[in-house]
Symmetry: C2
Subunit: 336 residues, 2 copies
């Protein structure tokens, strides 16, 4: 990527619960904000009518006829990627026509197609999905968030390298603190995987701060939190579930409450809205796939236009910062 | 236990952040409510002055001079258990002088001492800690919550048996639904451990409903949720952390808000208090150690008198229901 030129972003217009309307709208927002040169990949007949209003000029359309179904198996999706909006968005990154791609579609298919088409960075055994979580003082990168359910300790070290590179390149954290998920702060606490990985992390070219517990995830202890993809996925979904449980319990309590309590809730509505925005995953827009030879951002299936705009911003930041070169360079600094 | 007689409960008066004051106060509450015959184990000189007011009559004191330190290593605590309040509380269960014991002290030491003194139920490979979580429609039993960081699939099946027995005996759930933590609802989703355990659970004498995800923990999908002790501990602490993060973020938003928002918060205070009570771990009081030949309840280190009262209630319910016989019987029904 030429740092002076705007990064070129390929967006899967047909993937996600609210495609193509919210995908196109988010792309227009990103274009208006000058985040890059946008290419929407998908059904021209459905996209073109949506490309109206300020910010919609100069957005390119690459037509495709096919769609990867949300419930398609990864292996089926890989064999049938040609001519799909997701497959062609990834293909543009492979061919060099785009510097990054974004999809809110089938994430398992996205990972599989990207792995086959783009390949891995030398020295990275397994690509990982990184979730960017709204913490108390800023974003926290949690990885692996679900790509690898059974992991070797050395893969967790690679996750730490990739997460650190992402935090530096895309989130502007100068020296990201790396923690490993465990069941206590003391170094002796953990399971066989976490203890072995912690020993390797001591020698790795990252700022390793040791164990972090579940309660520390949001608490500004670490900027990058590593664990295997099974635990990371369970944690991510638990955090989502806990948030909506708290909100629905509060709503239920208010509905069963006095008139004064209901008035209180009305007065507090702006604060609730502000809070929901702060804690929303939309803020960081998407989950980067790390370790591939191409910048790919998985947006949430439920993404609205703001989430898509922010996923495109993350994709553009990755491309501008040359994240892949950064990851390749940090892999080379790992002692053999 | 004779069902007509009140269960005899031994309480470690010296364990916990607020010992002995809150421990004694909680014991008085439990005694006033007729939950059993109470024995406080600890320093008579510190306990006796606290045994005043309604409900304090007929509470027995067993004097001990020593205390297990909160940071004592388990192996040290086991070697030096004699004469400590925790060690003697467990010893009363072993000797038959008590039907159950409760401690808010060093939980690792409690587990280790109980394992050595009481032994395991025949057929149970590893005792587990069960956390009782406030779910949307009632309590959810999550186990293992931290006793076993590396687990074999067949141990997870034993956790399911023990958790089901506890839900029936102590929580009054007639046919507890058992789920296993995984990364997707489909049976093909999981890591090697969860997939192998799910296959064994299909054959086990429990009401197995399949995979549950992190977001389902509170959502009334399953009454008993099994996973290994590493993941269970991470989940439990993450849920605690998410709750306090949400509360502190809401407080911060209100403090930075308008006068009307502050007024709204004031009016909503009763609702917040009610909600905090509903979501509080105090409601279920403590975490049972399951699989031992004796009823043991670990109370949270920060327990207040309500939490201690409820931990004693859980201990009494276990003893009344003859939980250990129930666990032994369900182990025998597992196909070889």
């Amino acid at each position: 990527v030429n740092a002076d030129a705007l990064p070129r972003i390929a967006i899967d217009a047909m993937g996600g619960d609210h495609a193509p309307i919210e995908i196109v709208a988010g792309t227009i927002l990103a274009n208006r904000d000058g985040l890059g040169r946008m290419t929407l990949v998908g059904d021209r007949n459905r996209i073109e009518p949506l490309l109206v209003g300020p910010g919609s000029q100069d957005i390119e359309i690459v037509h495709t006829d096919e769609i990867v179904a949300m419930d398609a198996h990864a292996s089926y999706a890989v064999r049938n990627a040609d001519g799909t909006s997701l497959g062609e968005a990834v293909e543009r990154v492979r061919s060099g026509a785009a510097d990054a791609c974004v999809s809110a579609g089938n994430s398992g298919a996205f990972l599989a197609i990207a792995l086959i088409r783009l390949g891995r960075v030398a020295g990275i055994a397994r690509p990982a999905i990184a979730a960017v979580i709204p913490g108390v003082r800023g974003p926290v990168v949690l990885l692996d968030a679900g790509a690898n359910v059974d992991c070797r300790p050395e893969w967790l070290v690679q996750f730490a390298l990739m997460g650190s590179a992402y935090a530096r390149a895309a989130l502007g954290v100068a020296e990201p603190r790396v923690g490993i998920i465990s069941v206590g702060e003391e170094r002796s606490k953990g399971n066989s995987q976490s203890i072995a990985a912690a020993e390797l992390l001591d020698l790795a070219p990252v700022r390793f701060i040791g164990n972090v517990e579940g309660k520390d995830l949001f608490a500004d202890h670490a900027d990058v939190v590593v664990t295997d993809g099974f635990i990371g996925n369970v944690m991510l979904k638990l955090a989502e579930g806990a948030g909506s449980y708290f909100r629905s319990s509060l709503r239920e309590t208010i509905e069963g409450g006095s008139l004064l309590e209901k008035l209180g809730a009305l007065l507090l509505r702006p604060a609730f809205t502000k809070l929901q925005k702060k804690l929303s995953y939309d803020t960081y827009g998407g989950a980067p796939l790390l370790g591939l030879r191409g910048n790919c951002i998985v947006a949430h299936g439920r993404s609205n236009r703001t989430a898509i705009r922010n996923a495109i911003a993350a994709a553009a930041a990755e491309a501008r910062a040359d994240l892949i070169a950064e990851i390749a360079a940090s892999v080379e600094r790992v002692p053999a």
